[in-house]
């Protein structure tokens, strides 16, 4: 049993190492959401005074959770494209030619993304705080937000890994990215649902990401709210479970197709 744990740990470590050692691959996914955060909080700060806008101190306070989720999304897609790279360059074969547990091949990447998502979320919170962000839920609220982000990162990583394992192509993984990206935008993440109208509002309301970010946001703009947090966390967990089922099926399919 301890050998299996050591394998999970070693493969997670490798996943993190390879992410951190590719600055070109990992800096844009961290910086882009940050830039977006800086630009829109400068541009839209006064919208917070619009009637119907959720009560928040600043647009930054409203936006921060969307930024965190966006960052987790970007980084996890990059991690999943590494899974495809492993298949393309044969490292995957090295893994399956060893007596390692089949699931740890996947779990290593997913765990790596979980850890990375957690750290990345804290990074955004710290940067935000430097620009005057206050989190009403305090330190516990921050922990709550970053835990959801970590779970969501693991969820996206496993979903995208399912795709990576099925196609075995890193291009295909990056090509599927716009799909998740639009899911991110057709939501209440960057603008409050209360100010939306028509089909967009309907779409945003259906989108589970809206509810996840709203649940996180509640901790930031309102204060600790266990109910909201649970709803956010369970949506993230849902992504993770679906992703894991699909990825395990894809892995089984690839191993059987051999």
């Amino acid at each position: 049993m301890s050998a299996a744990v050591a394998q999970y740990a070693a493969l997670s470590r490798r996943s993190l190492l390879t992410m951190v050692r590719q600055p070109r691959a990992i800096i844009p996914p961290i910086l882009f959401p940050l830039m977006f955060m800086a630009l829109s909080s400068a541009a839209f700060d006064r919208t917070t005074q619009l009637p119907g806008f959720p009560e928040s101190e600043s647009f930054l306070q409203f936006l921060i959770c969307a930024t965190i989720v966006q960052g987790a999304l970007f980084a996890s897609i990059a991690a999943a494209s590494d899974v495809a790279h492993d298949i393309e360059d044969g490292f995957f074969d090295r893994l399956i030619a060893s007596p390692v547990a089949r699931t740890s091949i996947l779990a290593g990447r997913v765990m790596g993304s979980l850890v990375f998502g957690f750290v990345q979320a804290w990074f955004y919170l710290v940067v935000g705080s430097a620009f005057g962000l206050t989190v009403e839920g305090g330190f516990i609220g921050m922990i709550g937000v970053t835990l959801v982000a970590a779970m969501f990162a693991a969820g996206v990583a496993s979903l995208a890994s399912a795709f990576a394992i099925r196609t075995g192509s890193s291009e295909a993984v990056l090509g599927a990215f716009p799909l998740l990206f639009s899911l991110m935008f057709i939501s209440g993440n960057f603008f409050p649902r209360t100010l939306m109208d028509g089909w967009f509002k309907t779409a945003a309301t259906i989108n589970p990401l809206t509810h996840m970010v709203e649940g996180m946001r509640a901790q930031v703009i309102g204060g600790l709210d266990l109910g909201e947090w649970l709803s956010a966390f369970s949506i993230a967990l849902g992504f993770f479970v679906v992703g894991l089922v699909l990825a395990t099926a894809a892995l089984r399919g690839r191993l059987a197709a051999n």
Partner: protein, 330 residues
């Protein structure tokens, strides 16, 4: 046939990809401690065979045992007993040699206390101690292959599979890797299954060779047996300018059939084998025939391949520059 007496046994091993029959029912018997060469051109089915024997690919039909374990039913036991270095030296360029060795050890369930020392020994063995803490992305092709070899040995496997270990390497790196494989086999008794498209490699390294073409084994035996089957060596002499070639020819013909030779040279197929050279030289000397050059062409595995398939082995020309002298073919 079960597989404990022979380390690698295959019976009618077959693999189809759609309608293509990549491996068409091969039988193998490899004994413990031997270096077995699997020689064939690109696309002959070498890698597919290795992928089946290393549990990466399931056979369409047929069976095989590696170190006594069925490759399908006991795949995990097979994985524990084998070391695998695949063709592309699939090594994560972002990690260092030492990190990869540690990872490989963990994958094989070796506790880190044991793996550190073993990793160091292997790094010394393949001459990579200086580069151990550099990222693999900075390694040369030869260094990658040597690291790959070290990686495949971390758990001290009984059987080592090397899929085209020297393809794409420069001659020096190739010779260095050959030395490692020889040493490994000699000192640890590791059984080595080696695929190659270079006949010289099979000839120098392998105790026994199977030649595969179109998914079928077309010849099998020790390199010496195989070469002896296709014929005898050819001896060609270049005689002094303006000398009488007829005298030389009549002497040579006492030792075998004439063979085609360029102008100014005479050639003979030595019926008595290479050991007849001494007698030929003595006879020429007695008859005072001035010999300027003497060239012995031994049959090669390429000749064996040609005999079996009617074609030349791909890439043979690059791998055997020494044999490319203008020799008549037997």
């Amino acid at each position: 046939m079960q597989g404990t007496d022979g380390h690698v046994v295959a019976e009618g091993l077959t693999r189809h990809f759609g309608t293509i029959e990549a491996v068409a029912g091969i039988d193998l018997l490899m004994r413990p401690g031997e270096v077995f060469g699997f020689l064939g051109p690109n696309g002959a089915g070498k890698s597919t065979t290795v992928r089946m024997l290393t549990t990466l690919l399931r056979p369409t039909s047929g069976r095989a045992w590696v170190a006594g374990h069925d490759i399908v039913a006991e795949a995990d036991a097979v994985r524990r007993s084998i070391g695998v270095a695949l063709q592309d030296a699939a090594i994560d360029p972002l990690m260092t040699g030492r990190e990869l060795l540690a990872l490989q050890a963990v994958l094989h369930g070796i506790p880190s206390s044991a793996s550190r020392g073993r990793g160091q020994t292997l790094l010394e063995m393949v001459g990579l101690t200086g580069a151990a803490d550099r990222r693999v992305g900075t390694y040369s092709g030869g260094m990658r292959r040597r690291l790959d070899l070290a990686l495949s040995l971390i758990h001290e496997p009984q059987v080592l599979f090397l899929d085209e270990p020297t393809t794409g390497l420069d001659p020096n790196s190739r010779f260095a890797l050959w030395d490692e494989v020889r040493k490994l086999n000699r000192e640890r008794g590791t059984t080595v299954f080696l695929t190659t498209q270079y006949m010289e490699e099979a000839d120098t390294l392998a105790g026994r060779v199977a030649i595969i073409d179109g998914g079928r084994i077309v010849a099998e035996g020790t390199p010496e047996q195989l070469k002896a089957q296709v014929g005898v060596p050819t001896l060609q002499i270049v005689i002094g300018h303006g000398e009488d070639s007829l005298g030389a020819e009549s002497i040579l013909m006492r030792f075998g059939e004439p063979a085609p030779a360029p102008a100014g040279a005479v050639a003979v197929r030595l019926e008595g084998g290479a050991s007849a050279i001494a007698s030929v030289v003595r006879a020429l000397d007695e008859a005072k025939v001035p010999v300027e050059a003497l060239d012995l062409h031994m049959p090669t595995l390429d000749d064996v391949f040609q005999e079996a398939t009617g074609r030349r082995l791909e890439g043979a020309a690059e791998s055997q520059p020494l044999e490319q002298a203008p020799n008549p073919q037997p």
